[in-house]
Symmetry: C2
Subunit: 332 residues, 2 copies
């Protein structure tokens, strides 16, 4: 399968590394915001992976690098079966990713994306475009990455109806809450430690205010339950107001705070709710500690199916893209 990639950051580079370990996918072009590299007879992913470790200017790569590009011309110049879109997320406009994805789907190219912007803003339309053209649109990397939320929902629950979804989907907040409990730290101190360890971002607001969880819950619901929810429909409370006393008083009752996303699909107006919830030892999420994540699907016929996954790093996110590529290879 011939692959083109937009985005040569951490996840993009890790993906190139994983492609180098396989012989069933072939890398044809890689683009970033400034430059690109392409070879219809196949790039050497191992060599390119090394190159990107020290240099992001693809124009300088071997004899096949080039400067500023236009995506419609790239799609003419290089024939690929599948586009991987892995540029940074813009949650307000979804651009330039949405335009690239649309152009690929209009030109008969499957798409796999790790970019939450186009998926939270335009999932329904892009999925319909893909379906109309008999193409795959893989979004697993946008909703849990290494944790197979979408794959499990699409495959493992086949034939059962989703009634409710519960998720602990943000590793950063789970880690901060873990520190607050186990090391008796204030929210600010725990956040700072998580930032020093490279787990929380410099601007952590998306995570700690609950929006990352809300985005993932919305994406999962729209992909699996046929809803057409927007992020604005969600009711979101983060963890920034929690005090050491809150955590201690929960612990005294053998409970633990988790930033939980919930969605009752049988409600009159299904709505994603995100808030810190005290869970007891009987709750499946009680033991999901540290940077770990999990999703629970409550179904009519299969009962409760819960998937727990390890912390996501760029390798896990890249492996989630590979999974989507191989599922499209298998299903189309």
């Amino acid at each position: 399968m011939k692959i083109g990639l937009i985005g040569s950051g951490g996840v993009g580079r890790a993906l190139i590394g994983l492609i180098g370990e396989r012989d069933d996918v072939e890398l044809i072009f890689v683009l970033n915001s400034r430059s690109g590299v392409g070879d219809q007879s196949g790039l050497d992913p191992k060599k390119l992976y090394e190159f990107l470790g020290g240099n992001r200017d693809l124009e300088a790569y071997e004899k096949v690098g080039f400067g500023v590009w236009k995506f419609d011309e790239i799609l003419q110049a290089f024939k690929v079966d599948l586009l991987v879109e892995a540029t940074p997320t813009n949650k307000r406009t979804g651009e330039p990713a949405t335009s690239s994805i649309r152009l690929a789907l209009e030109n008969g190219v499957h798409v796999v994306t790790a970019n939450k912007g186009p998926v939270i803003l335009h999932y329904r339309g892009l999925k319909e475009l893909a379906d109309r053209n008999g193409l795959g649109f893989g979004i697993g990397a946008t909703a849990g990455a290494a944790l197979p939320t979408i794959s499990a929902g699409e495959n493992d629950l086949l034939g059962s109806r989703l009634l409710r979804i519960r998720g602990v989907l943000n590793g950063t907040t789970n880690y901060i809450l873990h520190l607050m409990e186990t090391e008796v730290m204030s929210y600010q101190a725990a956040l700072q430690k998580a930032q020093e360890e490279g787990i929380a971002e410099t601007d952590p607001s998306q995570d700690v205010e609950g929006w990352d969880t809300a985005i993932k819950m919305t994406i999962i619901a729209n992909a699996l339950a046929g809803t057409d929810l927007a992020l604005e429909d969600a009711e979101v409370v983060g963890i920034t107001h929690l005090t050491i006393e809150d955590i201690r008083s929960a612990k005294d009752r053998n409970k633990r705070y988790k930033l939980l996303g919930e969605l009752d699909l049988d409600a009159e107006n299904p709505r994603v709710l995100v808030k810190p919830v005290k869970v007891s030892g009987e709750d499946i999420f009680y033991g999901v500690q540290g940077k770990n994540k999990g999703i629970q699907y409550i179904t009519d016929n299969l009962g409760e199916v819960t998937i727990l996954g390890g912390a996501s790093d760029v390798r896990g996110a890249a492996a989630a893209i590979i999974r989507d590529i191989l599922q499209i290879k298998k299903n189309f």
Copy 2:
């Protein structure tokens, strides 16, 4: 999709019930050890479900029941796309299920089975026969039923390599251990209570001596990791020797016994090990209580992916069969 079914016991009847709720699968024949019923234009699953609630002699069903049958003649008389084999398990011979499955696959009919016998004894050969004829061979219901062990391994881990497998796969023993801990009961008293509640069987040896776990681990490994392990290769210790003192002393150290199946695929001679293991609160299986089950896949690229599922009943087992049917419908 036109379906034939062998086996009209609890799971078979529940499957007929679920087929009655769908319009994408059509029931053509149902057979049991004494009699059968068939209609090429489709049986009424709702009516048949009701009938089987009171009467197992299918010869008496409407005008389309018949007596003793031969399977090769059935395959001539009724055209189906897929056979569901759901007769009782015989783990020594795998018969008559293995012969029925082979005959179906030789005649271009997909197979889904809930019968552990043919799968533990002949998986490799039957899978190769299915592959050669471009057919599906679904075995999810034999290895966890509602818990999607096989589906998750085949779909959610695509592109990653399995390194180790750990599983708490037997609900009955998990429930007995739960009773021993929470109600401070002896093994014998807990077993008796589980039997009274219809959770443990009259002859509980397959469960409590660990063989059910060993069978599931072996099936999962052979299906997902390309091994060709036999049940005799497994090293199996059950829970019958555990005392109240064992359980209490574990609890004093905040640990809990689980009947754990383990397989290290990177070992020189990979071998299924089943034994009661004391797990701490840090272990993902610590919180898998009561009749619940779980499987953990340790992979190279996706890290650890754990699937936890509710207790299996006949409806869950039937839903697992439906899942396999729909996956074959999707993939072939």
